[in-house]
């Protein structure tokens, strides 16, 4: 398998995985755009090395250029995803804590003497 075929296959796998994730609702639509774009670029680089030659003419070997470009794009996406997941994780924890505390206080308010009552009496 040469580099062109590898690029094309990698592009297809990325696009197919992203579409599958979209279909099964494992990935949000807005986050799929970058992955689809990366997959399309990789597949195009594998399919049309001649066409891509014009874009990267004089810079470096066309496949290597696109491989580096796609790699950089993927790295950027992973970094952005990490930031997103981190933020979502923090928000999830905050929401879960808020929900648990509110539920606790509602439950206590419905009892004759809640923990606040105990504390007030001390």
């Amino acid at each position: 398998m040469n580099l062109q075929s590898l690029l094309f296959m990698a592009g297809l796998v990325i696009c197919a995985s992203t579409l599958y994730g979209l279909r099964r609702e494992h990935i949000r639509a807005e986050y799929s755009i970058g992955w689809l774009a990366a997959g399309a670029v990789l597949a195009a680089a594998g399919l049309f090395p001649g066409g891509m030659q014009a874009v990267s003419a004089g810079l470096m070997d066309v496949q290597a250029g696109f491989l580096i470009g796609a790699g950089a794009l993927l790295a950027g996406l992973v970094f952005w995803t990490t930031r997103l997941v981190s933020r979502l994780w923090d928000e999830r924890v905050m929401l879960a804590q808020r929900a648990a505390i509110l539920e606790f206080r509602m439950r206590r308010d419905n009892q004759p003497k809640g923990i606040e009552g105990e504390m007030e009496s001390e």
């Binding site: 999830r92 924890v93 105990e118 504390m119």
Partner: protein
């Protein structure tokens, strides 16, 4: 869990006991409530850091001036709770840690550990000393008392992953004073220690990571005290 709650009630009568249930699938909630605790039920599993911070947030909302955190595995002696509270009041410290590793020979407070573990702990102490500015004998203690000032800080900001180390890094960053007192420890009654050999390696890695993050944040915060 039931025994832990009952022993806390006996050691500190009249003091509210709140159990944070980390979305457990066993009978923790029922057992704790039957023993006389108020239970906060987390809707999803958050891990140790998320759990402890939930307790701090609730305590702050309820207007508590002091909070003593006790692990639910029954390793701590509830009789040490009044001593932790006393130390918070008498020393003026913001955080008081119940330590297994201080107390001196013959007091019965010192904890027996293997040679390998002792070496690991000694190494950790040195690393953590660079973060906190002073030696912490028992960085993984689950018996910790905090006053209102520390409570306000921890309710706002608390490390979710590896909270034991993260908290120690926070002490210095927020200029919180801490104090250690000797406490008795028993073999755990329920559950297993989370510190396996692999976790111990991760632990040391995270100590180094937190030391680095601590340095970054201290220098990033305008007007922050070292």
């Amino acid at each position: 869990m039931g025994e832990v709650v009952r022993s806390v009630h006996e050691a500190a009568p009249g003091v509210p006991v709140i159990v944070i249930d980390d979305h457990s699938s066993d009978r923790t909630v029922a057992v704790a409530e039957r023993a006389g605790a108020d239970v906060v039920r987390l809707p999803v599993h958050l891990g140790l850091g998320g759990c402890v911070q939930t307790g701090y947030k609730l305590a702050l909302e309820l207007g508590c001036n002091f909070v003593i955190r006790v692990d639910g595995d029954g390793q701590h002696e509830a009789r040490d709770i009044p001593r932790i509270l006393g130390a918070l009041e008498s020393t003026g410290s913001d955080v008081v840690i119940g330590s297994r590793f201080i107390g001196g020979q013959g007091t019965g407070h010192e904890m027996r550990t293997s040679a390998a573990r002792s070496i690991g702990i000694a190494l950790l102490r040195r690393l953590l000393a660079s973060i906190t500015g002073s030696t912490v004998h028992d960085p993984t203690s689950g018996l910790i008392g905090v006053n209102r000032r520390a409570l306000e800080v921890f309710a706002r900001e608390f490390p979710l992953a590896w909270p034991e180390i993260g908290v120690l890094a926070m002490l210095r960053r927020h200029d919180l004073r801490f104090h250690e007192i000797s406490c008795r420890m028993r073999q755990r009654r329920t559950g297993k220690s989370s510190l396996t050999a692999w976790k111990s390696c991760q632990y040391i890695f995270h100590v180094l990571l937190y030391a680095f993050v601590h340095v970054l944040r201290v220098h990033a915060a305008p007007g922050a005290k070292r």
